[in-house]
């Protein structure tokens, strides 16, 4: 499971759990050739899906105290 939040257009935070890290295809491809996930800057597909959700309104873009 992944929790995503955007407080503003510029901001993005993502919380992964261990299952999600294991299931990510991009992480799997890169760890298979010796990379460690903490040093992988991002998963492109995850980022694209968050950006898409923000654009079409499925992911609210606002700081948490504004509800």
């Amino acid at each position: 499971m992944v929790l995503a939040a955007k407080f503003s257009v510029q901001h993005t935070s993502v919380q992964w759990d261990a299952t999600a890290v294991r299931q990510c295809a991009e992480f799997a491809r890169r760890t298979a050739v010796g990379e460690q996930t903490p040093l992988i800057e991002r998963c492109g597909a995850m980022r694209a899906s968050i950006d898409a959700a923000a654009l079409d309104g499925r992911l609210p873009v606002a700081p948490p105290w504004l509800g």
Partner: protein
């Protein structure tokens, strides 16, 4: 936390009494081989570091288990350290190897030996209150430049700080201070916290109107994983000596950060590696250390490359001095009040907490992957347009235009 008038109090908390589990760098390895033995005050006690007959470095508790003598004031004899009090010999594994005036060594004669690692020309010890060996994946990565003739030698500096070491670790998520201390615009800032690793990805650009003030440092703040030395070196007002810096940094465990930097050195792209590391002396005191290597520019002699590295390290040091001024005068705060443009302080502290818990007690969410990102490039563009207008007005107008931008 807030009283009935809405006033929030600071929760001062208390530093942990135990020390972080993890690899800790004690310094460059070579100086520990010089004469010796050497003393290091760390982890609430005193350690003795000495090289055996083959040159391998060992670390023991400094206080002799016989009658408490200080082994750091003793003598290396063969592959043992001999206590100055009664000449008991102690080997690198902590076993007593000889008592010259006794017929036999008591079978329980064993002192604490610290597991060591040499990597990147540096000496590390493993600290663990539970006394376990490090897991295979928890290690110090190799920095290729540290072994290459294409790179300078390490600079190395130390500073003793009277504060809890969490203060320096907090900096890995501190984006905002780049604006206020180092006259730089972070255009991109990202953290990835996962497992025992906390990473920071950073890009900054210099302020086009900034002129370096020798009384105020524009130098690096490698505590945050970035050195601003590129920015302060530019400083030609109005001219476009925009110095860009790209920094990729990570803590590998609680105390050792490797920062890969690419920056502009008088128009030439430079590669450098900065180490920012520390070890605790007590819960309220730590030793901060930093070291720099730079990739040699074509045509530079080794001596010239070392000079470039030294200059960069000096700027980094200026930045750290500013950090120390803050840390030694601030309050510890366990409940920081954050705004939307702050970094993930609570998540970073949750990541850091893992090193103070028994391994079996670490909850899954403490080491789960957390990503945080701010893209500030649009804000920076707007700010720079305003600054450019200010500069043009200054040059063109007969009267100075007051600037609200707090330049300098």
């Amino acid at each position: 936390m807030s009283d009935r008038n809405g006033v929030r109090s600071i929760d001062v908390g208390a530093p942990p009494t135990r020390f972080a589990r993890g690899w800790h760098c004690l310094g460059l390895a070579a100086p520990f081989r010089d004469s010796g033995p050497h003393a290091v005050e760390a982890f609430g006690t005193k350690l003795v570091v000495f090289a055996d007959a083959s040159g391998e470095l060992h670390v023991l508790d400094a206080y002799c288990r016989h009658m408490g003598g200080d082994l750091t004031r003793g003598t290396i004899k063969g592959s043992s350290i001999a206590c100055p009090f009664h000449d008991w010999h102690w080997g690198g594994d902590g076993k007593c190897t000889k008592i010259p005036y006794a017929r036999r060594v008591p079978p329980t004669a064993r002192t604490r030996s610290w597991l060591t690692l040499e990597q990147n020309q540096q000496l590390f010890v493993w600290s663990d209150p539970q006394g376990n060996m490090p897991p295979a994946n928890v290690t110090i990565p190799r920095i290729e430049g540290a072994y290459s003739d294409d790179w300078s030698n390490w600079t190395w500096d130390t500073l003793t700080v009277d504060a809890n070491c969490r203060e320096v670790v907090d900096n890995v998520v501190d984006m905002a201070h780049f604006f206020y201390i180092h006259f730089a615009f972070p255009t991109y800032f990202r953290n990835v916290l996962e497992g025992h690793i906390a990473a920071q990805y950073l890009k900054t650009r210099s302020r086009p109107d900034y002129e370096p003030d020798p009384g105020r440092s524009g130098g690096g703040q490698s505590g945050r994983g970035q050195s601003g030395s590129g920015q302060s070196g530019g400083g030609q007002s109005g001219a476009s000596t925009q110095i860009g810096l790209v920094s990729e940094a990570a803590y590998y465990g609680p105390s050792y950060m490797i920062d890969y930097l690419n920056y502009d050195y008088h128009g030439v792209p430079m590669d450098a590696v900065l180490i920012n590391c520390h070890y605790p002396v007590t819960p309220e005191r730590f030793v901060l250390q930093w070291g720099v290597i730079v990739k040699k520019l074509p045509g530079l002699s080794p001596e010239q490359a070392d000079k470039v590295a030294a200059k960069f390290a000096k700027f980094v040091g200026l930045g750290f001095q500013q950090d120390v001024d803050i840390w030694t005068h601030k309050s510890r705060i366990d409940n920081p009040l954050l705004c939307a443009e702050d970094g993930p302080v609570y998540q970073l502290r949750r990541w850091y907490e893992q090193f103070y818990l028994d391994v079996e007690d670490i909850p899954a969410d403490m080491v789960a992957r957390h990503e945080f990102e701010i893209d500030t490039s649009r804000a920076v563009e707007a700010w720079e347009a305003e600054v450019a207008a200010n500069l043009a007005a200054r040059q063109g107008a007969s009267q100075p235009v007051p600037s609200e931008s707090g330049v300098g």
